[in-house]
């Protein structure tokens, strides 16, 4: 059924810290690796060593430059994958019932044997979270590593999505966002976690933590005004050159 559940027992999802992400793309590679070798059709590449390489990825890292009204511009690395929306438009448009949202944990999944590859779900997603695999002709999307997080054959520390497990900066957090006392919910509350494109009405489960304000260097030291001013006239050879050129 491609109608959405009214509520889900849990809301498993990711919290991504834009303050901490260093833009190394390790999560992209870990995701591609795990999801190519495990559940579902592999994530194919076309022309990987040729002139126009292109491939299927479930997680991609953008980089943005943000320029405040005053002060220096800053660079923000921005990982983007499926947000497992509560009001997922990709699910309700599916004509076959291949796309669905799980009642037990809120994960949005695709049943690949029912997918006809019409692409309408990818059109419906405002975030670009779904990509059609060119080799398999079925829609691929983040499964929240459903074959890791509930997998009792793995050591407990590995029962998190591959992107979270691999992140060297600790910028990705996994947990139940439906439980207000969970670590991820507390993190979202403390850091002012935000939704992407809230105006689209998708009610994303995944949250993004905005970059924290940068330290201000308005006052280097309380004693600074008392120190002798730094010479702003060049000395030595440069000083001679400066004077010589000015005399010309």
């Amino acid at each position: 059924m491609t109608t959405l559940p009214d509520t889900t027992t849990r809301k498993l999802g990711l919290v991504i810290d834009l303050d901490t992400c260093v833009g190394c793309h390790a999560c992209v590679i870990a995701c591609k690796g795990w999801n190519t070798e495990n559940y579902g059709a592999p994530l194919s590449d076309e022309d990987p060593y040729g002139a126009a390489p292109s491939g299927t990825f479930l997680n991609r890292v953008h980089s943005y430059e943000v320029t405040p009204d005053a002060g220096a511009a800053q660079l923000v690395h921005f990982p983007k994958s499926c947000l497992h929306c509560d009001n997922a438009p990709c699910v309700t448009v599916c004509p076959t019932g291949a796309s669905y949202k799980r009642v037990e944990d809120g994960i949005v999944l695709v049943n690949e044997s029912d997918c006809i590859g019409c692409g309408l779900c990818a059109w419906a997603c405002p975030y670009g979270a779904r990509e059609m695999d060119a080799a398999e002709g079925v829609m691929k999307k983040c499964t929240l590593c459903v074959d890791r997080i509930h997998n009792e054959n793995l050591p407990e520390e590995d029962r998190v999505p591959a992107c979270v497990r691999t992140c060297p900066a600790g910028a990705r957090h996994f947990g139940d966002l439906g439980d207000p006392t969970s670590a991820v919910s507390l993190l979202v509350k403390e850091r002012g976690g935000m939704d992407l494109m809230p105006e689209q009405g998708t009610k994303p489960v995944n949250k993004y933590l905005p970059p924290r304000p940068r330290d201000r260097l308005d006052e280097v030291d309380v004693l600074a005004p008392l120190l002798a001013p730094v010479a702003d006239e060049p000395g030595g050879f440069l000083g001679w050159l400066d004077r010589a050129l000015e005399r010309l």
Binding site: V66, K80, T96, G119, G137, M197
Partner: protein, 290 residues
């Protein structure tokens, strides 16, 4: 959005085909025997052929029948159900006229309603998408229905109805373009809301996530197709709407009517190219593109 030939052919031909089926279902023109066979073959050929074309862009056409299952929630599924029902009902209606010279009026009305329902459900596949602001308007179903009714009347030889309906459809088309040109800007979605970084300052895409292209850019950020948009709009208006009305106003001849039909289909195909090529998906914002 990527203007896939299969979808442009589908919406153009099947729109005209289902439009013709609507008029045939109403008994306009009242035909029987060989003439009915010709009309029904044309209508079912256009409608069915368009549907076949639409399966060409599926990743797994052999599973297309599964798309009939989710009519409770999915407009695409409803379109599939409506189109199959319309073709079946109108096939029985047509068989009555062709072989038994009998018009099953109630069946005809049902078929006409289903034919219009198919066009409406097709338009709602696009009009439902919040992610494509240019499409998300009641003007989209109005445009599709207007074009199908006008084009259907043209094919059915309903001269007066065709002239009136095509003129009305042209007005809706112009209104749809005018609204569409500001739809993304007024949608409330921009790079600031897409990234949530707008509260810090002005956001600019610094580096894309990948050096090459990908499915998202190929499918939903198709900027190259908009190059001749202004010229194509004039061509679409002239061929799709104006020329057929002028040709219908001249003394009737089969050659002129055929020319009017061909001009109409060519013009609507141009308009449908723009329908896709000019539509901006909000995912383009993440790439700093439209």
């Amino acid at each position: 959005m990527h203007p896939a030939p299969s979808v442009i052919i589908f919406t153009t031909l099947s729109g005209a085909g289902f439009g013709l089926l609507f008029w045939l279902g109403l008994g306009l023109p009242a035909v029987s025997g060989w003439v009915a066979l010709a009309f029904y073959a044309l209508a079912c050929g256009l409608a069915g052929g368009g549907l076949m074309a639409s399966t060409f862009h599926l990743g797994h056409p052999e599973r297309a029948w599964k798309a009939l299952r989710q009519w409770r929630s999915s407009w695409l599924s409803r379109e599939g159900v409506c189109s199959v029902a319309a073709l079946l009902v109108m096939a029985v209606h047509g068989a009555g006229l062709v072989f038994f010279d009998t018009r099953l009026a109630v069946l005809g009305w049902l078929g006409a309603a289903l034919a219009l329902g198919t066009v409406f459900t097709t338009s709602m596949i696009y009009a439902q998408l919040t992610s494509v602001p240019r499409w998300r308007t009641p003007l989209t179903p109005a445009l599709f229905l207007g074009v199908a009714l006008g084009g259907g009347a043209l094919l059915a030889g309903q001269v007066t109805a065709a002239m009136v309906l095509l003129a009305l459809a042209a007005l809706v088309q112009v209104a749809w373009w005018r609204r569409g040109d500001v739809a993304l800007a007024t949608s409330g979605s921009d790079l600031a809301s897409a990234t949530g970084l707008g509260r810090i300052g002005a956001v600019r895409s610094f580096a894309p996530p990948h050096t090459g292209t990908n499915y998202l850019l190929r499918e939903m950020v198709h900027e190259v197709g908009r190059k001749h948009a202004a010229r194509l709009r004039v061509i679409a208006l002239a061929l799709g709407y104006a020329l057929p009305v002028v040709l219908l106003a001249l003394p009737f001849s089969h050659a002129l009517a055929a020319l009017a039909v061909l001009a109409h289909l060519a013009g609507i195909a141009a308009a449908r190219w723009l329908f896709f090529a000019e539509a901006e998906h909000v995912v383009g914002l993440y790439y700093g593109r439209r």
